[in-house]
């Protein structure tokens, strides 16, 4: 479903992502793990074709550079820095994005209810809290029921209850066959949402491993540090 080969992104002389390659089969899950500035967000933005990059990215068989529209039609994206048009109401905002995806208005309204923002439909986006905006971003990503979700720290701004709800929604989607690529700092989310992990270190992929084995290693490492 996702095929990435030799993906690199440079800003002038600086390489922010270097030679990343991976395949994610339909219904699979991949976690991108790394510290701040490791290149996780850049990788997701490049997958969507939002940045100039070298290498190749195919989403659902479509080359994102040559057939960007068809490729992006298959993808829902939750960015790390959620940004909507502050003057629009929450539902208006979602309805605008729904029209761009040729999704009926009813679906936008239903998704707003699904992420518990129904009571805030008329509220200006600028007046929503960070967590509410994050939930709005999740709703926007689900417009058109895309077979691929790219999630950049999807629970970063959420409180415990909202995080549980969103993770449950994402787990259901994964069980239903949606392909996920997620960046996160939380081991529990890696375990829930992915089969494989790629560790990024200042833009360089360090390893691609089975998620279970990797989580075991991380846990052992953390325990060793605690013992010291």
């Amino acid at each position: 479903m996702i095929r990435v080969a030799n993906l690199s992104v440079r800003y002038g002389p600086t390489t922010v992502l270097d030679d990343l390659s991976f395949d994610v089969p339909s219904g699979g899950g991949l976690a991108l793990w790394g510290t701040n500035g490791a290149g996780k967000t850049t990788a997701l933005q490049a997958l969507l074709g939002l940045l100039p990059f070298s290498g190749t990215v195919h989403l659902g068989g479509h080359d994102v550079r040559r057939a960007g529209r068809r490729a992006r039609a298959l993808v829902g994206y939750v960015p790390q820095q959620v940004a909507f048009w502050d003057d629009l109401g929450a539902l208006d905002c979602l309805a605008f994005l729904a029209r761009l995806r040729r999704v009926p208005f009813d679906r936008a309204a239903a998704l707003l209810e699904r992420v518990d923002l129904g009571a805030h439909a008329a509220k200006r986006v600028g007046a929503l809290s960070g967590g509410m905006k994050q939930r709005l971003a999740v709703a926007a990503a689900l417009l058109g029921d895309p077979p691929i979700l790219l999630l950049d720290e999807p629970t970063a701004n959420l409180d415990a209850a909202a995080r549980t709800d969103v993770l449950s929604l994402l787990a259901d989607l994964r069980a239903g066959g949606t392909t996920l690529v997620v960046t996160t700092h939380r081991l529990a989310e890696v375990k829930l949402l992915s089969d494989d992990v790629i560790v990024l270190d200042v833009g360089r992929p360090r390893s691609g491993r089975d998620a279970e084995r990797w989580i075991h290693e991380q846990t052992m490492e953390d325990a060793a540090w605690m013992a010291l």
Binding site: Q45, G49, L50, P79, A83, F84, D87, R99, L100, R101
Partner: protein, 276 residues
């Protein structure tokens, strides 16, 4: 390109412009200045009605030359750069749309909003003149309006070039103001000074003059109002003799070429830069 996507983005842009207090301020200022100039042109010598539209048009030419490029350049410069700075460009480009559709949609929306604001200003000024009995030379007035709209489209497109390349609205606005100064003052005064010191041939002077879309607008407006370019001196007479009846088409062509080339450049830059 998908026309439905362009229309959708354009419609949103029109709504955003109506919510933008700077845009509303520009529109109100233009309308007030246009009405003020109309009143001044009618009040001269106590004569009401005689060539009312012609005088009003002549007065509005200078207003258009100063204000329209300023509004169009700054609005254009803030468009893409503003979305980039706020992060909403990533939200928009993550949808199944192309960058060209986003840029053209935003351009069409802003062009419609700007055109409506200018027509409102011209319309109010025209209504004011008509109410005071000025009914002569309405055709010249109409030609000045059409030329002003063309000029606005060209300057808006130049603003989009700046915006496509800029990361921040502050920087984009500064560059737009620099271009405005260059076209309005440095182009005019610089050309006058250079032509005198270098004893420039009149053909070269005319060619250099026509490169500037503001000068193309000024010459076209003078030709519409007075019927000849004698008032512009030797260069005007030379232009009349060289192009004859085709002069207006040449001048309109200059402005249209500025629009098309600038929009093409803006799309090219935007395609390369993306959200960065």
């Amino acid at each position: 390109m998908d026309g439905a996507v362009i229309a959708l983005i354009a419609r949103k842009e029109v709504r955003d412009a109506l919510r933008n207090r700077w845009f509303m301020l520009y529109a109100a200022a233009f309308a007030l200045l246009a009405i003020g100039l109309s009143q001044l042109s009618l009040g001269d010598g106590g004569t009401v009605g005689y060539a009312g539209f012609g005088r009003t048009a002549a007065g509005l030419v200078n207003l258009v030359l100063l204000v329209v490029p300023l509004i169009a350049l700054t609005l254009g410069a803030q468009s893409i750069a503003g979305e980039r700075e706020r992060g909403t460009l990533a939200t928009l480009l993550a949808q199944p749309v192309t960058r060209a559709e986003v840029l053209i949609g935003k351009y069409v929306g802003l062009a419609l909003a700007l055109g409506a604001a200018l027509l409102l200003g011209f319309g109010l000024a025209g209504a004011w003149v008509a109410a005071r009995g000025g009914g002569v030379e309405a055709l010249a007035y109409g030609q000045v309006i059409v030329a002003a709209l063309l000029l606005a489209l060209a300057m808006l497109a130049v603003g989009f070039v700046v915006s496509a390349a800029a990361r921040r609205t502050g920087g984009a606005t500064a560059v737009a103001l620099f271009i405005w100064l260059g076209l309005v003052f440095a182009g005019d005064l610089g050309l006058m000074g250079t032509s005198v010191t270098m004893r420039m041939p009149v053909s070269v002077l005319l060619a250099l003059t026509l490169i500037n879309p503001l000068e193309a607008y000024r010459i076209g407006a003078v030709a519409s109002i007075t019927g000849s370019l004698d008032v512009l001196g030797p260069a005007g007479v030379y232009a009349d003799r060289t192009f004859g009846a085709g002069l207006v088409a040449v001048l309109a062509g200059v402005i249209v070429v500025w629009t098309v080339v600038s929009l093409g450049a803006a799309v090219m830059i935007f395609n390369r830069r993306g959200i960065r």
